[in-house]
Amino acid sequence: MRSKVVFARMLRNRQTRYGLIALLLLLLLAYVGPFFGPHDWLEKDFTAFMEPPSADHWWGTTQIGQDVYAVALHGMQKSIVIGFLVALISTGLAALVGASAGYFGGWLDKALMWGADLLLVLPSFLIIAIVSPNLRGGSWLWFVLLLAAFSWMITSRVVRSMTLSLREREYILAARYMGIPGWKIIIRHVVPNLSSLLIIDATLNVSAAIIGEAGLSFFGFGVQPPDVSLGTLIAAGSDKVPGYSWLFLFPSGLLVLLVLSVNLIGDGLRDALDPGSNS
């Protein structure tokens, strides 16, 4: 009922519709596109180095003869997976930490919020830059965890303050007076009632995580070769922009489109779920 209303209201917003369509097309391109390309992303064409886009190599080739189309789509897959995973973990963590801190209060609240503040003042880029080379050879999942660990704090503070007001609601009091344990109340009553905030936050976190991943990979601290992501591809192409612009333009274009569409959806979701916030 409510979700239907929200969905209808979201679709009424033109920008959100564009965002949704764009994201769908990008997801299709990333996961179905490689099957239509003439080359595999690991394949090296020794007859074509740094070739501009042509009928054989749609988006051109790299200096070692890789097909840019195949490589860029593979990189985008990685970027999307990292983006969604990071958003999921960090929003989940934020909900859990914020709701526990707000609901239980007392020393737990102090400890958790102190931890959040500490993480907020640490320069996350620097820490990840220092830590990630030590994980070289490890899985890229470690990188996901690192990114998530540094992106939940602000949301958790918002969740905490909303929980503080939810805690006084009568249905929460009713549950407490029924003798239901605190953690069950958090999972069953607090978090579902914050879902609109969490959905919006998760969506916006996706684009933040994609950008963050790209930024770190650009400097070589993120996804490690031979694996590729949009960030590493942009880094590899950035110094050859004048002569061989396809190396840079295609991955960075995909990045811009991806982030833009996710952001449009996030904004539309916020307006639809929270009618008071739009102008």
Binding site: M1, R2, R169, E170, Y171, L173, A174, A175, Y177, M178, G179, I180, P181, K184, R188, H189, P192, N193, S195
Partner: protein, 686 residues
């Protein structure tokens, strides 16, 4: 002389929602017209349309004439000149009606200066005069105060002062006393009468409280589903209603003067304005419905002698047979008493509260918090509830009712005193024992919207306590509970927002009953409901009590409801118990001056009684619980103390009264040094 004439007013909101359909009335000089109806009946929208204050997107048709001048379609600038000058408006919520950043005096002076060519000094002086007129003490000082420094009652007085600042011809009051406590309501209604005398204005009084209208109005317009259904003189409407809805409304109110009668609820709910039934909108709930009712909506037509008009095709029949609500509505059967009740002393005590104290520290400072005072929320109260008994805990807002409840529900050691639930001291409970005890102690909240998790289907809401306490056969029990409170088992799949207020409160009650408790705490369970719905919920609570052998702690500010449902009553004032005893004793022979004032302040839905009644008006507001008066808490407002000799009065200032039994045989005590003794004629005792 007619000053305001409304003819066939229609308001349609976007989406074809017809909020007001064909309202017509005339208001004469010095006349008070009461518009009554339940929430959603369109009574507020009518007045907003008259003022031209409806939001854009509302289509208004019909005519509103002020002194013969048409207001509908008038340019905004001209309307602005009339608003505040010829028409004054008093809103329900006085806090949002004042700008918080200007002083009260400045805002009233501004209202004066906008419509009259006077100097700043003169306007400020006029503001002080007006504040004096509405009974604000030290008006010259208080005029410089900001809205938040005023109490609710004071703000509503200031609002009245602002509304009458330019001698309006019409005053529109939209639920002016709904947000106020009864003693403050009595004060404000008195001020409203003064204001009317001073200005000679006609008053349109919009309210859902039939008691308020009975005491104030000359004529009454009853609205239902956006339409006027009955219009007539106040006596005609109250003593000889001719429209079944009005009849039902009057029969469903709990009355202090005839408490034992069973309440008569009107079945069903008011129709949604988006989906009106084909014929008479009241037909689906009407006990006198015939097939012809569905053919078309009846017009307001004259019935019987006098000016009264009713919109019912059977009104003439009602007039001829002289029917009333109690005869046409089915009177619900009272629950059969299972066994003769044992004397109170022999019954088990389910809740015993002794010298309960709850103080909150008042902190100041951002970095280094220091204690600057203490809020004496609950300051040593004692009461007990026997098995199968209902104790009504009454008092005005801020007297500590809610804090008392929370202390009991938390089942933790109180700051001072003891709480014993079913023989178990809450201070000595272990973790497991506390959880186990929660089965026997449940609560029903005031606001049925807030008390149910909006994200859970009703079935899950009811299953939650069952699962938490490890009950098997959950779905069967959920169905059983829904049937018990008068809902369908199939309702378990719906979400709370699909139910009306009364149904939601029933779900709340079902949840409280889930674990078969022995004691239920009811926190103002019917105050958010319309009267016709309220009656059904009160009846349900009474039935359940007998059927399941429950005990209730019934917290309320509505003394008529308490009179109806409770066996004993405890009156609280500023964290203390002022008077406690059986309802018969306390209501018939109130001994504490506060109880007397409280009882006399309740508006009765009976115009003759209202006119002949003597009101005890209390001075001023409830003192702040952060600095309560020493010794007797009530001495600052006590009307009795003013009549005492100086020597006797000193006792009130120095010695704190404790609750003492008034007569050795009666279950009745009051915390007053000089309790009132009401002489009751012999015949009335039986």
């Amino acid at each position: 002389m007619t000053i305001l004439e409304v003819n066939d007013l229609n308001v349609t909101f976007r989406g074809g929602i017809k909020a007001v359909r064909g309202v017509s009335y005339r208001l004469g000089r010095g006349e008070v017209l009461g518009i009554v109806g339940e929430s959603g009946s369109g009574k507020s929208v009518t007045s907003l349309a008259v003022m031209g204050l409806l939001p854009e997107g509302a289509e208004i048709s019909g005519s509103v004439k002020l002194h013969g001048q048409e207001l509908i379609g008038m340019p905004e600038e001209e309307l602005t000149r009339l608003r505040g000058k010829s028409i004054g408006m008093i809103f329900q919520d006085p806090l949002s009606a004042f700008t918080p950043v200007y002083t009260i005096g400045a805002q009233i002076a501004e209202a004066v200066r906008i419509h009259q060519k006077v100097g700043k000094d003169k306007a400020a002086k006029r503001a002080v005069e007006l504040l004096d007129l509405v009974g604000i003490p030290h008006p010259d000082v208080r005029a410089k105060a900001f809205p938040h420094e005023f109490s609710g009652g004071m703000r509503q007085r200031a609002m009245i002062a602002m509304a009458i600042a330019n001698d309006p011809d019409v005053l529109i009051c939209d639920e002016p006393t709904t947000a106020l406590d009864v003693t403050i309501q009595a004060q404000v209604l008195e001020v409203l009468k003064t204001a009317q005398r001073e200005t000679g204005a006609g008053i349109v009084m919009i309210t859902h409280d039939l008691g308020v209208v009975a005491g104030l109005a000359d004529r009454v317009l009853v609205m239902y589903a956006g339409r006027p259904v009955e219009l007539g003189g106040v006596d005609e409407i109250y003593y000889r209603p001719r429209m079944p809805y009005t009849m039902g409304l009057l029969a469903s109110i709990p009355r202090m003067d005839r408490p034992s009668a069973r309440l008569i609820p009107i079945e069903g709910n008011p129709p949604s304005p988006a989906a009106l039934p084909p014929g008479c909108p009241f037909a689906p709930r009407c006990p006198m419905k015939v097939d012809a009712c569905d053919d078309g909506e009846p017009e307001l037509e004259p019935v019987g002698p006098g000016s009264r008009r009713a919109a019912c095709i059977r009104a003439h029949e009602i007039e001829l047979k002289n029917l009333d609500g109690a005869t046409i509505y089915p009177v619900p059967e009272p629950p059969a008493e299972t066994e003769a009740s044992r004397p109170r002393a022999e019954r088990e005590t389910v809740l015993k509260v002794e010298d309960l104290v709850r103080h909150y520290p008042l902190m100041k400072g951002a970095v280094f918090k220091r204690r600057v005072g203490t809020v004496h929320a609950v300051d040593g109260i004692s009461f007990d509830i026997a098995e199968g008994e209902t104790l009504g805990l009454v008092g005005e807002s801020g007297c500590g009712k809610t804090t008392t409840l929370q202390q009991i529900m938390q089942l933790e050691a109180p700051q001072d005193g003891t709480i014993v639930v079913l023989g178990k001291d809450s201070a000595k409970l272990g973790r497991g024992e506390r959880t186990a005890l929660r089965r026997d102690l449940q609560i029903v909240f005031q606001d049925p919207m807030a008390a149910l998790d909006p994200r859970m289907p009703v079935g899950d809401i009811l299953a939650e306590p069952l699962r938490a306490h490890g009950r098997k056969d959950v779905p069967a029990r959920v169905a059983e509970l829904l049937t018990l409170v008068g809902l369908e088992p199939s309702h378990a799949e719906r979400y709370p927002q699909h139910f009306s207020g009364g149904q939601r409160q029933r779900i709340g009650i079902a949840r409280a009953l889930a674990l078969e408790p022995k004691l239920i705490v009811l926190d103002e369970p019917v105050s958010a409901l319309d009267v016709s719905i309220q009656a059904g919920v009160i009846n349900l609570l009474e039935d359940l009590k007998v059927k399941l052998g429950l005990s209730y702690l019934f917290v309320a500010h509505d003394l008529s409801v308490v009179r109806h449902i409770a066996d004993r009553v405890a009156v609280m004032y500023l964290g203390k118990i002022a008077e406690v005893g059986t309802v018969e004793e306390v209501y018939a022979r109130p001994a504490h001056p506060y109880t007397r004032a409280l009882l006399s302040a309740i508006p009765l839905p009976d115009p003759n009684l209202e006119r002949s009644r003597e009101r005890i008006l209390l001075e001023g507001d409830l003192p702040s619980p952060a600095s309560p008066p020493s010794a007797c808490r009530f001495r600052t407002r006590c009307p009795k103390r003013a009549r005492l000799s100086a020597e006797d009065a000193r006792r009130c200032d120095t010695e704190e009264p404790i609750v003492t039994r008034l007569a050795p045989a009666a279950d009745h005590g009051a915390a007053c040094h000089y309790p009132e003794v009401t002489e009751v004629p012999e015949t009335a005792v039986s």
